[in-house]
Symmetry: C2
Amino acid sequence: MMDYKTLFETMGRQAKTAAFDMQKASTKMKNDVLARVADILEADMATILTANEEDMKHAVANGVPPVMMDRLQLTEDRIRQMALGVRQVIDLPDPIGECMERTARPNGIRIEKRRVPLGVIAMIYEARPNVTIDAAVLCLKTGNAVILRGGKEAMASNRALVAVLRRALKESGLPEDAVQLVEVTDREAVSDLLRQRAYIDVVIPRGGAGLIRRIVEESRIPVIETGSGVVHIYVDKEADPAKVVPIVINAKTQRPSVCNAAETLLVHREAVDTILPDVIDALIKAGVHLYGDEAIQRLTAAAMPATEESWYTEYNDLVMNCRVVDSLEEAIDHINRYGTKHSECIITENKATADTFMRDVDASSVYVNASTRFTDGFEFGYGAEIGISTQKLHARGPMGLPALTSYKFLVYGDGQTRG
Amino acid sequence: MMDYKTLFETMGRQAKTAAFDMQKASTKMKNDVLARVADILEADMATILTANEEDMKHAVANGVPPVMMDRLQLTEDRIRQMALGVRQVIDLPDPIGECMERTARPNGIRIEKRRVPLGVIAMIYEARPNVTIDAAVLCLKTGNAVILRGGKEAMASNRALVAVLRRALKESGLPEDAVQLVEVTDREAVSDLLRQRAYIDVVIPRGGAGLIRRIVEESRIPVIETGSGVVHIYVDKEADPAKVVPIVINAKTQRPSVCNAAETLLVHREAVDTILPDVIDALIKAGVHLYGDEAIQRLTAAAMPATEESWYTEYNDLVMNCRVVDSLEEAIDHINRYGTKHSECIITENKATADTFMRDVDASSVYVNASTRFTDGFEFGYGAEIGISTQKLHARGPMGLPALTSYKFLVYGDGQTRG
C-alpha cells in the first residue's frame, strides 16, 4: 500500500507554494492563463477525446449506468462549450484586491479590508470531467491553487484536462502546481487528503448526498457543503391558479436530475379541490410518479403511499412527493424539518403570507411565485458558479467568484501604540 | 454514566426551536432583552458574587494558578463593567435584515440578498465568566440561540449568569432556551456536543491553542477558529529608529497575555548594529526574557538560545524570540512558516517594502508602523468582538456582529419559469 500521508503532504506543500505565487499574479496574468486554457482545449481536442474514449470503454465494461455515461462523455461540441465557458470567466471582474471597507480611526491608523484568495482549495467530485475545467478555472481566476479529486471513472479524461491546465500555467509563467490531480482512487486516500489542514484551506465537495456526508464526517479541513436539494413548492390557498401548473411543472420536470429541481409539493387544504386536480393531471401527463399522503391518495389512484422516508428523499428523477397541509405554519414546519436548506417556494398572491414564508423558511433561496430552477450562479447574475452552498457559514446559495476569496485587514500606521 | 447524546440532542432541539423565534424578533425586542440583562446584572449582583465566591473557594482548594484565579474572579466593579458592555451592544446597529445586494434579472425576477442569523451557535471557552455574558449578548443581538460551555472552574458563576440571561429572555417574551448552559464538565461530553450537526450551525471556541486544536479535531460542525497568535514584528533595514522601540515594547509588554501581543522579533541584518541594541536594552529593561539565534546571542548575553520549538511558541508572557534575517523575503518566509495567521507587523519607511510585506504575509491583519495590539473589534471600530478568527473561511480577524450572521436570497417572481 502506498503511503498516502506522504503523498498528500507533498501535494499540499506544492499547492501552498503555488498559491503563494498565484495570490501575487495580476489580473492580466490570470486571464492570460485562462485564454491559453481555452486555446489548448480547442487545439488538443483529439488528445482529450482519445483519453475520454478510454474512460468510456472502461465504463461500458464496468456496466456504468447510462445517466453516468452521459455525464462522463466528452464530444467536440462539449469541449468547445468548455472553452467558451473558460472565455466567459476571463470577462468576469477579478475580485482579488477589492477594497471592501476603509476606515480611519481616531488615533490615525487607517484600516483597509481587502479581498485575498482563500489559498489552497481541494475540490472533490464525481465522474464529470467538465467540473475539472470549470472548478480549476474559477480557482485560478481568484488566485487560488487547487487540488482536484474527480471520480475514478473519469481518470483518463481528467489527466488529459489537467495536462491542459498545467501546460497553460507553465506557458504563462505561473506555477504548474496551482493545479494538481489526485491520481489515487481508493476511498481511504480521500480520508488522508482531508487531514492536510496545514496545507489546504477549504474542501468543496460536489456530488451526491452520500459523497458530501462522507466528506463532512471525515474532513479536518473546513468544508463548504454543496448541492443536496430536497426542494419544496407550497401552493397556498391564495395561489393564483394560472401560475401553479407552470411553476410546478418547470421546477419538477425541466431538468429533474439537478439539485434545484423540486421534490415535494405541499398544498393548502383549501386549494385541494380548486387548484390541485390540474396540477396532478399535469404532473401525471409529464410522466411524474407520485407519492402522496392519504388526502392525495384519495384524490388520485396514481399516487403511491408516501412514507416518512419519502419526505427526506432527493429523487433527482421524475418522482414527486405530495402532501396536504392545514396551514402556512404546517407547510413551514414541514420544510424546515425535511428540507436541505437549498431552495423553497411559495405560490401565493397574499403578500403577508409570502413574507412570513420567506422569513421563516430556513433555506439559501426562498421564492415567491417563481420556479426554484433559478437557484444558479448564472441565473442570479454572477456569471459563474463553483457550486450551491447549503450551509450557513462563509457562503450560502449559488457561489460565484467571491465565494472563493477571503479577506485581510491592512493597517497603516505612523508609529501608533495602544494606550 | 449519563447519556450525553440524548442530553445534547434535547438541548440542540430546544436551541433550534428558540432560534426559530429569535430570528423573528424585532430589533426593539432584542434590545429590550439586553436592557433587562444589564438591569438584572446590577440588581442581582449579590447572588452572582455569592456564586462566584463558591467557584473561587474551589479554585483555591484545587490550587488553580493566580493568573486563572484573576480571570475567574468577579467583583462589583467587574459586574458593573459587564452591564456597561451589554448596554453598549444595545447601541450597535442590528445587522439582521440588512439588504446586502439587490438585483433585477432580465426575466423580471427580483433578488434580494439579506442578512439572517446563523441559527444556533455553540460557544466553548475557559474559566472566564465574563465571556458568558459577552458571547450570549452578541448572539442574542444577532437573533441567534446559543449553547454555552464554559470552563468547569466557573460553573457556579456561569449558572448564576445564565439565570440572569434566561430571566431577561422570559420577562421580554422571548424563549429562555435561546441561552442554555452545558452543565456536564467532562471532556467526553464536549465530543458529543460537537456531533450535533443537525441542530448546531457553528462552534466558536475561545481559549488556548490546546482547546482550539481539540475542537477542530473533534467537531463535525463547522468551527470558527479563534485566537491563537504567534505574532511577529519585522524591523526592516529602512525602519525609522524612533518608531521601533515604542512599537516593539507596546506590542510585547502592554498586555503580554493576549493573542495580539508580539512573540517574535525579526530584524534585518543591516539594522542589527544601528537599531537593534536600543530595542534589546528596552526589552530587557521591561523585564522581557529573550530567546535568540546566534547573531542575537553574540549581541547580548541575556539571550537564551532559541530552538525550532521557540519559533512556534505563543508565550503569552514577558518572553520574546529574536532572529536576524538577511532580507524581506526571509522575514516573510519565517512568518508564513511559524505564524498563526493572526497579526504581523513591518516597521519600515519604504512604501514598496511595506506593500510587499502586506501582500505576501498570510495573516488576518498586517501592519506597517503600528503596534499589533490594535487587532481587536473595538480598536477596529466594530463596537463588539466575539473573537478573532485565524481562519480564512466566513470571518477573518476581529469578528463583530456581522460575523454572527449568514444571509439568504429572497427571490420575487410573477410566475417565471426557466427555459
